[in-house]
Structures are given as structure tokens and as C-alpha cells.
């Protein structure tokens, strides 16, 4: 398949692996931001191709993992209402709230539908005018334009029975939060290629400069990631800290201006809670006042306060790159994809689930 097979080529993978090994002269720790990259790293056992001096940490870029428990509880509360059709992306259904998940609500008769696009929710709302349709609008900058467009169309078509439970987060403040942590170990970042396809990468330049840290905008195929690592390590070895673009077949510096415009039309920057991490300033997108009538939190007011119980789960530390999944005492024992203790064990993009599913032969 074009644009896929050429990035899964064993000869070139070996070539990049050798180039990385030749370049590295000391230990370095690099973090890939996006869960999609984590998934690829685990699926192709890329760590096996890297020299022992190079350590990869897995970042917080898994939207399922960082959606706060309170919001999952709200989703469960709304989805269980008799007149509601609750629409969600598939892998949100298994994420544990404080006492249940959306699958449980579905099995008890809740009308929950897996959709691929927020536009599907729009169609469901048009087809079911007597029902209240709610879409769980989660994700990073990648899902924001489509979600914003759905909200914009809901307003322009005056669809009254559709609302949005929003948990949108953005990447740059999370990078700053990781770098400001006193325990930070990250020395270079692979930025998320698809986030930058939307937003461009100008906003990463002050981060690279201020924190003196190389950032390489990187794709998702194994060769993309190996090349991204090579570019990052080269900067580290040469003492440079710049933003470079490995994923130039998709990312332009200015990003997708039309997508940015619709995001700005519908959303404004707000503080957001990140599951396992806590509140990060200016790290989320919320509905602008002109769209608040489509906010499911306004339409179905309910409050949930969640007190994290003490468990062995270290998903917060994993999301911040302070620990690796297999350093958790619960990993693969009391915490598995069948009974996850933390959200990082749920989504296929969660670091713990990726480690669990794609065990290497050596481990």
C-alpha cells in the first residue's frame, strides 16, 4: 500500500538503526508525545533496534488515557438517561470511571453508539428528533477540527437535540508541564505528526529555545519514528535545540489554516484536568459562549467529585514519562486490559496496553 509499505521496510529500518548507533556517544532519553507513536514503537519492537544508551519514554498523547474520571462519570450518567442516544469513539467505552464504564451502561440498556466521526452524531440527531443525542468530543488537536465543525453545523442547522460533552486537550502546555517537573528526565521530544498537521509547528519553536530541548515533528510508521529519533539524537549530540520536521509529507510549518479557523470559531483555551496528572494551565479547549447551548455539561447539569483511591497503579507517572509501564508492580498482574486499574491499560494507544499487547520476545 502506497505511503505505508515504503515506511515499513526492513533494509531501511536497519540503515537508520545503524545510523543512530553510530551517532550516539552517551546516554539519552527521548519522549514520543503521541500514543499512536507509542503503539508503533511497541508493535514493531523498535526499542530492539536501538542502542542501549538510548531510552524511549512514552508521553501523555493518548486522549483516552488523559480524559478525567469525573468526565467519564458524567458520560456514564448522561448515557444512562432514558431519552438519550450517547455517541462515542469506540475505545472510550472500556475506560473505567469511578464505578463503571460505558460498556456496562450499554449492557444495561443504555443507547450507546460507536461512531467514527462526530458527523455521524449529527446524522443520528437528524434521524431521531424525539431523542437527545450527545457526542463525547474528546481528543487532541487532531480531533478538534472535526468536532468543531460538527458543533458549528449543529448551530447553523439549528439542530436542537444534539449536544457535546467536550474534553479537548492540547499538546504544547503538556510538554511544558513535563519539562517543568523537577523529576523530568526527557532530553528530546518527538512531537506528534498529526497534531502538527493541523496546528503547524511554530508554537514549538519557543519551547525548544526556552527549555533548550530538541523537538522533531515525527510521523507514525516505523521508519518515520526511527528517522525522528535519529534527527533528535543528532541534535543532542551536536548540542543543538531546534524544531525539525521529519513528517514533511504531511506537516507544513503553518499547519492547516482552514482547520485552525474552525477550531478558533468554536473553541477557546481553558484550563483542563488530565487524568493521572492533574490540572494543566491553558491546556484545554472549551466551547466559546456563543456555542454554550450545545454543551452537554450545561444541558445535563451534574457534578461528580472523584477521589483517586490508593492503588498500585502508576499511570500518572507513566503519562508524565517518569516511569515505564513494566516498572509498575501491578503491570500484567492485577492490571490487565481485561481489568485495567488505569486508563493507560485501556486504549490501544495507552503505553501500558501497548506494552502488554506487544511483548517483545526477550521480555
Amino acid at each position: 500500500m502506497k505511503y505505508v509499505d515504503e515506511y515499513r521496510n526492513s533494509k531501511e529500518a536497519k540503515m537508520f538503526a545503524e545510523a543512530i548507533a553510530r551517532t550516539v556517544t552517551r546516554t539519552w532519553t527521548v519522549m514520543e508525545i503521541c500514543g499512536g507513536q507509542t503503539h508503533s514503537i511497541a508493535k514493531y519492537s523498535l526499542q530492539d533496534l536501538l542502542p542501549p544508551e538510548l531510552s524511549l519514554l512514552h508521553g501523555p498523547g493518548c486522549p483516552v488515557c488523559v480524559t478525567p474520571v469525573e468526565l467519564i462519570d458524567k458520560a456514564i450518567h448522561i448515557a444512562a438517561m432514558p431519552n438519550v442516544i450517547f455517541c462515542s469513539f469506540g475505545d472510550m467505552l472500556r475506560v473505567p470511571g469511578s464505578s463503571a464504564d460505558l460498556f456496562k451502561v450499554k449492557s444495561k440498556g443504555g443507547d450507546i453508539r460507536i461512531v467514527y466521526s462526530p458527523m455521524d452524531a449529527l446524522n443520528i440527531a437528524r434521524d431521531n428528533p424525539q431523542k437527545e443525542v450527545v457526542f463525547f468530543a474528546i481528543g487532541f488537536e487532531t480531533t478538534a477540527p472535526a468536532n468543531a465543525m460538527a458543533i458549528y453545523q449543529t448551530k447553523s442547522e439549528n439542530i436542537k437535540n444534539l449536544s457535546f460533552l467536550v474534553s479537548q486537550v492540547i499538546v504544547p502546555p503538556a510538554i511544558c508541564s513535563i519539562l517543568e517537573s523537577p523529576q523530568n528526565r526527557v532530553q528530546g521530544f518527538l512531537a506528534a505528526g498529526h497534531v502538527c498537521t493541523i496546528m503547524g509547528y511554530s508554537e514549538y519553536e519557543p519551547i525548544a529555545k526556552d527549555y533548550k530541548i530538541p523537538i522533531v515533528v515525527t510521523g507514525f510508521e516505523p521508519l518515520d519514528i526511527l528517522q525522528g529519533i535519529f534527527m533528535c539524537v543528532k541534535q543532542l549530540e551536536e548540542g543543538r535545540f531546534e524544531v525539525e520536521n521529519q513528517y514533511s509529507r504531511s506537516v507544513r510549518k503553518e499547519g492547516n489554516l482552514a482547520a485552525q479557523k474552525i477550531i478558533q470559531e468554536v473553541f477557546q483555551i481553558i484550563p483542563r484536568q488530565w487524568r493521572g496528572i492533574g490540572e494543566i494551565k491553558q491546556s484545554g479547549l472549551g466551547l466559546k459562549p456563543a456555542y454554550s447551548q450545545y454543551d452537554a455539561e450545561v444541558r445535563f447539569p451534574c457534578e461528580f467529585h472523584y477521589q483517586e483511591n490508593a492503588t498500585e497503579c502508576i499511570s500518572g507517572l507513566v503519562l508524565q514519562g517518569l516511569k515505564k509501564p513494566n516498572e509498575c508492580p501491578a503491570f500484567g498482574k492485577s492490571c490487565t486490559p481485561e481489568s485495567p486499574l488505569g486508563a493507560t491499560m485501556v486504549s490501544t494507544e495507552g503505553a501500558c496496553a501497548a506494552y502488554y499487547r506487544y511483548q517483545t520476545v526477550q521480555s
Partner: protein, 356 residues
């Protein structure tokens, strides 16, 4: 089903024998044991499944049976949507059970059919399903010799559920079982994977995803029979239904306590199936099939067996995808396209579409 059959089938499907004089959809009375039940049996089921055993209209079938070992299996079919590109619940119900018998090393002979029909199912849809079952049974060389019909209230079924049980005869001395697998065995795959699962997903309402991909739903017993006819020493077989290729191999590796290594590069996946999997965030190794199987054979017969499989009209893309070793016990190792290796594990449930 070949093209000619498909055309005949669609013409016959127009001639449902019931809708004019009876109702055009199933009512509770069709399952009540009275005249409408009789009419359904006489005008729909009996003409389609016509054979002397069914003709006796007894509580069960009495059959002559050849001497030898029996294989006996049962399966229930609840697919949604009922009709999908490349097949329907009827073809699944026949081929699924026929294939389970074939995987036991048996030649399928007889099937039973139980229908649980939801009130309100269109008679046209029922007829389409029954006609397809007739064709699939004929193609597989099996007779449907007894059956049952129940009708449930509207809302208590999903159109129609079908259970089929099947009996086959074992005509060789091999023990076809994971425990017969030996280190050194070759792992042969009957053809390209993933078509059924993707066809079903694309046909599901509300997914907003369309494709030209048809289910691979087909009987495999003829293909298996050709291997027996050539005296291939088959150690184990498994059809690649729910959970796909990966799950089938993991089950065999765990039961046999051996290690199966497969090459990602050798696993045939059609370009359109690959594309759909990339878009939907699914791994074709775990996507369901309804007409593919793996067979473990002695290494020195692998080439001969592969040629036999490839000569079948449905087996053109058959491949040798791996080998068996004695350790690490109970594992399946995938050699990836980029030259690394990892273990394959069972999924905890259905694959869920990713967010981005």
C-alpha cells in the same frame, strides 16, 4: 457462490412461495404449531432443503451411517446485518458448521437447523436466507435432515438467529488436534485474510464507511478433502473465524505447548482490506474470516500441500507463513516487516476503532 449461481439465486429469490397468499412477514402464528407453521415448513423449508430424511416429517431424522469415527459440532449464528456483501446469515450458518467439521478432519454429511425468528421478519428476507442455505449445503455436499422453528415477540430477537449442528465422518487414521503438532511442522494459510470482518463492518449501519470488499464466506471442506486425498499428513487445522489468524495460532500454540513463528511479510492481505484496516485502526491478524483456515503439516510435505491448496479456485493466495519450534513453549512469534520480532497475544475482546 459463483456468478452463475448468484444470478440464478437472485432470480429465485424473487419467487418467494409465500408472500401473496399468506402474510408478507413472519407473525407469532408461524411459530404456533398450527396451519401457518405447516405452511412455512411445506412451502419454504421443505422445498429448499428437500431430501428423503426431511420428507419423513418425524420428530427427528433416522439415518444410515457409514462405519467409522463421527465428528459432531454445533454453532449459533447471530450476525448483524443479516445480509452483507458476499453472503448472509444463512450461508454463514451452513459454511460455519461445515467448516468446523472439516477442521476436525471429518467429511461433513448431515446438518440440523434451528431457526429463532423475530416476529416481523420479512418473508422475502427469510426466503433469501433459506435459498442461500440450500445452495451452500449443496456446494458442501451436506443434507439438512431435521430442524425446528420458533418465533419470538418483536424486540426479543434480532431478525433471525440460526443454530446448526453437524455430523461428519472421519475416513483416515490421523489425529487432527493441536497436540499432534510437531516441532518442524510447516504452517500453511489457505488464502488472504480479513475480508469477512471488514465486509461486516462496512455493511453495518451508521459506520459511515463503505467498501467493495466481500465476505470470504465459503465452505472449506472440499479444499481439506483434496489434502486427505493426496495423503498429506495433517497434524492440526483451525478455521480463522472470530479473533482471526492470530487467535487461532495462539490457541494451537498454547494447547500444544510449542512455539509458532510466522512471517508478517508472507501473510496475504488484499490491498483494499489493508487500507480499510489502516483507516479503522484494526489489525488484520485479528479480523474475522469465514472461509480461511490454517493447516499444520509435516515439513517435507509442505510444498506438495501448498500446491494442492493453490490449485483450488479459492486458494490462489495460499501461502506457507511459518514453522513450529519447541520453545518458547505456548507462544506465537511474529517476525515483523522491519525485521524485529514480537509475541502475539489474544485480545481481551472485540477490536475497537481507535480515536485518531
Amino acid at each position: 457462490m459463483n456468478l452463475e449461481n448468484e444470478i440464478n439465486f437472485s432470480m429465485d429469490a424473487l419467487n418467494c412461495p409465500l408472500p401473496i397468499d399468506a402474510s408478507s412477514f413472519i407473525t407469532l402464528a408461524h411459530g404456533g404449531g398450527g396451519k401457518l407453521t405447516q405452511q412455512l415448513i411445506e412451502k419454504v423449508f421443505q422445498p429448499a432443503f428437500n431430501n428423503p430424511e426431511l420428507e419423513t416429517r418425524h420428530d427427528g431424522a433416522v439415518i444410515d451411517f457409514p462405519k467409522g469415527k463421527l465428528a459432531f459440532t454445533t454453532d449459533s449464528y447471530v450476525v448483524n446485518p443479516l445480509i452483507f456483501p458476499g453472503g448472509n446469515i444463512g450461508s454463514l450458518a451452513i459454511n460455519g458448521t461445515v467448516n468446523d467439521l472439516a477442521m476436525c478432519g471429518a467429511r461433513p454429511l448431515y446438518l440440523t437447523v434451528g431457526f429463532i425468528i423475530e416476529e416481523g421478519l420479512s418473508m422475502e428476507v427469510l426466503w433469501t436466507i433459506v435459498r442461500t442455505m440450500k445452495i451452500a449445503a449443496e456446494e458442501a455436499g451436506v443434507k439438512i435432515i431435521t430442524g425446528d422453528t420458533k418465533v419470538v415477540d418483536k424486540g426479543k430477537g434480532d431478525g433471525i438467529f440460526i443454530n446448526t449442528s453437524g455430523i461428519g465422518i472421519i475416513e483416515h487414521d490421523l489425529t487432527i488436534h493441536p497436540q499432534s503438532v510437531q516441532p518442524g511442522d510447516a504452517v500453511l494459510l489457505s488464502g488472504d485474510i480479513g475480508k469477512h470482518g471488514i465486509a461486516i463492518m462496512s455493511a453495518r449501519e451508521g459506520l459511515g464507511f463503505q467498501s467493495e470488499i466481500k465476505s470470504d464466506c465459503a465452505g472449506v471442506s472440499h479444499r481439506v478433502q483434496k489434502l486427505f486425498d493426496a495423503s498429506i499428513e495433517i497434524h492440526c487445522m483451525r478455521d480463522l473465524t472470530r479473533g482471526g489468524l492470530a487467535t487461532a495460532l495462539i490457541e494451537i500454540a498454547k494447547t500444544s505447548q510449542l512455539s509458532v513463528t510466522i512471517e508478517e511479510m508472507e501473510i496475504p492481505v488484499r490491498e483494499d482490506v489493508k487500507g480499510a484496516c489502516e483507516i479503522l485502526g484494526l489489525d488484520p491478524l485479528y479480523v474475522a474470516n469465514e472461509g480461511q483456515f490454517v493447516v499444520f503439516v509435516k515439513a517435507d510435505q509442505a510444498q506438495q500441500a501448498l500446491q494442492i491448496m493453490q490449485q483450488d479456485p479459492l486458494g490462489g493466495s495460499a501461502k506457507c507463513i511459518g514453522t513450529v519450534a519447541d520453545s518458547p513453549e505456548g507462544t506465537v512469534i511474529l517476525k515483523t516487516k522491519i525485521g524485529t520480532s514480537r509475541l502475539l497475544d489474544m485480545l481481551s475482546g472485540e477490536q475497537l476503532p481507535r480515536i485518531c
